[in-house]
Amino acid sequence: MIFGLPIGFAAPWVLAALVVLPVLWLILRAIPPAPVRRMFPGVVLLLGLKDDDTVTDRTPWWLLLLRMLALAAVIVGLAGPVLNPDEPSDGNGPLLIVMDASWASAADWEARRTMVEALLDEAAREGRSASLQRLTAPQEVRFQPADAWLSRLAGVTPMPWEPEAAAVAAWAEELAGQDFDTVWLSDGLARDGRDDVLKALQEAGSVRVVETGRGVIGLQTPAFEDGKVLLTARRSESALERGVSVQAVGTDPGGSERILATLPMDFEAGEDVAENALVLPAELRARVTRFEVQGLRSAGAISLTDDSLRRREVALIAGREDREGLQLLSPLHFLRQALVPTADILEGALGDVLPANPDVVVLADVAVLSAGEEAALLEWLDQGGLLLRFAGPRLAASEISRTDEDPLLPVRLRAGGRSVGGAMSWGEPKSLAPFSEDSPFFGLSVPEEVTVTAQVMAQPDPTLAERVIASLSDGTPLVTRKEIGQGQVVLVHVTANAEWSGLPLSGLFVQMLDRLAVVSSNSADMAEQMAGTSWQPLKVLDGFGRLEDGQTLPGVPGEALLEGALNADVRPGLYREGDRLMALNVVQNDAELVAMRWPADVPVEGLRGAVSRDLSGYLLAAALILLAADVLASLAVSGRLWGARVAGALMALVLVAPVHEARAQGADAHARDVALAHVLTGNRTIDDTALAGMRGLSETLFFRTSVEPGEPASVDLERDELAFYPILYWPITQEQPTPSREAYGKLNDYLRSGGMIVFDTRDADVARFGASSPNGRKLQSLAAGLDIPPLDPLPADHVLTRTFYLLQDFPGRYDSHDVWVEAAPPDAELIEGMPFRNLNDGVTPVIIGGNDWAAAWAVDARGNTLLPVGRGRAGERQRELAYRFGVNIVMHVLTGNYKSDQVHVPALLDRLGQ
């Protein structure tokens, strides 16, 4: 500290040089500014004159001051001033910097790194050796010059797991007998073995602990209950109220990642757990890939989702498919309606559906299953499937589960079932009883209007009571359930349609289905499931909570995954085994975040706010600026600062900036201007002619139309982006290479997105259209890979004949009428009174001809035509028509069917009565 300012000096003795400043003042004052030489004829009159004042003309005081300041800045700058200098540390032995480097310290990692940098800087200045250790990845402690660690600091990142007690303890044991000071950057969480490490460090020397004191926030794996996503966040410092918001991140239908929902979570004062439930439509819920605490960069603030939020696959199988058209009577209609919003529905034969491993199979009034089907169903049930059966006339009429319980039915059935409240029976239709507490439907309200008129009856068995999960008001079972292996069979004793009861018409039906489908998700005993499996990491989290590809990491045994102890082998992330996905999150559901309480004798500091900063650079820069100002001032004082020099200096300053901008042009010039392009064929002459033709056409367009094309381009189909060019001129040569598959892909994209290719076989003088010439055959082979619509000879009322000029001939260097464009739709017909048919709605993607247009258009750099066309004046006329055709083509590409629409104008005016 100097004068109360937080400034220190690296080399304070340099400041002694400030003493010379007053001396220098006197010297500089004594030395007058250099004389100016002036031509002056009047010097004759001056000869012999003596200066009145023997004292020289002094340097102005402010100029002296400027120079003094510059010099002082140099001296002070060389003395190495440091803002907020680190307190001189007590020790001078080696310095050990211990970082927890867990996910909990990732949120303020930048501050930690700055702090470590400052510590290392300080150690470097003091010549201490240092060592940097991460407890999440403990290594042997090696003390090296602090500078060496500084260079490695950028690569030191937090790990997505916490220090492992055993590894840290082993590491601490090796410290015995060494002598060093320690700075421990703690993440603020208590965990086992910390005291031992602290003890070991204290034995070696002094220990300082650095903590943020802000606490740690973590997000648990979300739970899915009652159609809601339950989110739980934990924190370590529970003193104050604090709110965070949790974002559900997932893919939108386009596949890009976006925030699907935001949920506020508030920690009450004194509470270290905050819970909130997120209600999401099933569609959205299925897309959620992770939840994250907004604005917190830490692996603990991310919670990945797995299968538990996934949409379920439900297979619907009905027994009767003989009647068509009676949709409302279809046993599956109401099921389909109820399930479509929340589940993926599979329909088909049972044998086809089962291999898809649906979560739920619904059998609506299916009585008899083949032995093979039954075995397959049983096996599937054994692995955790849910079989939902509905009764119906067939089931009631069948003999199954009459004497012995069918393995695929939860109860034995009485023959025939019963009918209540009907015309031929006594009693009122029965309503539902409230659901009991151990029923999965518990909590659903029972609407009055749901009545049951017919049902199949369960035979009283010892197991019946525990299998009933819903019953009628008279106590007869309505829904029964039996567990088979890890799966279960649920029988609804009425039909899935409205024949026997009003249940399928009510909202309760949907809720019950929802409950049942939810129960079917991964809720079975995990330990058994996970045993012996090997899970492949798909994505893993790094310490900051960024997802990285995990495909290259080795598989993880299921047991380790279930145990949830994170380390370098078991990283948090998303794992896959078969079809199953499992998310392993940093904050386990049972883990509490407890703040570390350090012993009283350990000094605990916060992260240092004010970082020491070397000021010498600024001072030296200031000295340079002052010296530059001195140059100007000296010039001004001696009268040599002319306007031109000032302007020159200013210009030099101003011009420095735009120099950078002047580059980076040209590359995207074609993206900004309209530019014509031709395809490179590999034949130099033809390419040159084509380019010259494009140039000639560009100039013609420039002079005659409002299209002002840029410099034309030569396009290599393999390398260049085509999207910039509205039109591609493609001269055909026999020897040009066939484009690659990728190039064809690009060309097809180009054609589909509105581009036009003008194919020119350049042989109309000798051949007609088609495969009659070598170039024609080459064109056919080239165009085979292109997405080209049916073609027609250019009709006389095609919009190309009137986009700019009215044309009926389309000559190039040759004058053939064989020009082909996209065929008119078959229903195009000539309307009475209209001059043109209303043809294609878009731009024809190709124009094919052989008139060698580019040769007719070609001009050299001075605008002279390159190749002769025809003879004499008739030839010039032909060239003019060729230009006009080119203009029409470009206009057609740029304006589409605009000129087609114009044909409607007279009719419209007529109707408006004008």
């Binding site: 007058p32 500014p33 250099a34 004389p35 100016v36 030489r37 002036r38 031509m39 002056f40 004829p41 009047g42 010097v43 004759v44 009159l45 001056l46 000869l47 004159l49 200066d51 009145d52 004042d53 020289t56 003309d57 004082v637 001696s638 009268g639």
Partner: protein, 290 residues
């Protein structure tokens, strides 16, 4: 030995300078001629002046027989002043005349040449004989003389400061000295007295740059003459200003006194002022005793 190419080059250069100066001078002279329009001057001596009775000593050839026959006594026909005035010009071509304090101002020498040539044009158009002092270009009449004068004026003289050439002065001729009169005063004095001794009357025009009148300099400076033969260093130029102006005024006063003594006219012209007023003044001053 100068090579042909060099000769040609410098000739071209000179020729290029000549027309502008001449054109400028003609232009300037034109403005004055317009103002003096209608003034007829004595010509080549063809005009009749008077008849006088024959005096002893007149040769019989001089008797105008027609006049004599009319009256009976004998008369001699006198023509108007047969001898035209000779005007001798001296323009200081020394290095000091090349000074101009500002790019926008012409140098003193340029202005001096311009004025002199314009005056020469006026005089020659008026029928006078104009030439340079010294023996280089004796006074002659005719338009051709203008070209010769122009050519001579474009020759630079060596030396820092010029001194007038007073040799071969025609008696009773007129003379014009244009200079900054910064040079050796004694030489001016000698030249002027010598000229006055021969009955030559004339005009001294002192051409000065505005900077020479105001001395706008400050700070430490080394003043050098145009030829760099003289130099004077000062540490505080602004201190010198008063004394410089004093000396300048003293020199002007001496010059004026000298002119008064010899019957010459003295004028001062600054390059910052218009050339036309100076030319008018010059013209009148020369005419005054004509």
């Amino acid at each position: 030995m100068i090579s042909f190419a060099q000769l040609r080059g410098s000739a071209e250069e000179q020729a290029a300078r000549l027309p502008p100066l001449l054109a400028q001078a003609e232009h300037l002279a034109g403005t004055v001629l317009l103002g003096e329009h209608g003034r007829r001057r004595a010509g080549m001596g063809d005009d009749f002046w008077q008849y006088r009775p024959v005096q002893p000593g007149d040769s019989t050839r001089m008797i105008d027989w027609r006049r004599s026959a009319k009256t009976g006594s004998q008369f001699v026909r006198q023509r108007e002043w047969q001898v035209a005035q000779s005007v001798m010009l001296w323009v200081d071509q020394a290095a000091s005349m090349g000074f101009s304090s500002d790019k926008a101002l012409p140098s003193k020498g340029d202005r001096a040449r311009l004025l002199t040539l314009a005056l020469a044009i006026l005089l020659i158009r008026g029928g006078e004989r104009v030439g340079l002092t010294g023996t280089l270009l004796p006074p002659r009449r005719g338009e051709g003389q203008i070209l010769r004068l122009t050519e001579m004026m474009l020759r630079d003289e060596g030396g820092d400061y010029g001194s007038p050439e007073a040799r071969a002065m025609l008696p009773h001729a007129r003379a014009l000295f244009v200079s900054d009169f910064m040079g050796d005063f004694d030489s001016f004095e000698a030249a002027l007295t010598k000229a006055a001794d021969r009955g030559v009357l004339g005009v001294c025009l002192q051409v000065l740059d505005p900077a020479e009148e105001s001395f706008p300099f400050k700070g430490r400076a080394i003043f050098e003459s145009m030829g760099q033969t003289l130099s004077h260093e000062t540490k505080k130029a602004d201190d010198l200003k008063a004394r410089y102006l004093e000396r300048l005024a003293e020199r002007k006063e001496r010059l004026r006194g000298l002119c008064r003594l010899t019957g010459w006219h003295y004028g001062t012209h600054h390059t910052g002022e218009s050339a036309q007023s100076a030319l008018l003044w010059l013209h009148r001053a020369l005419e005054r005793r004509t």
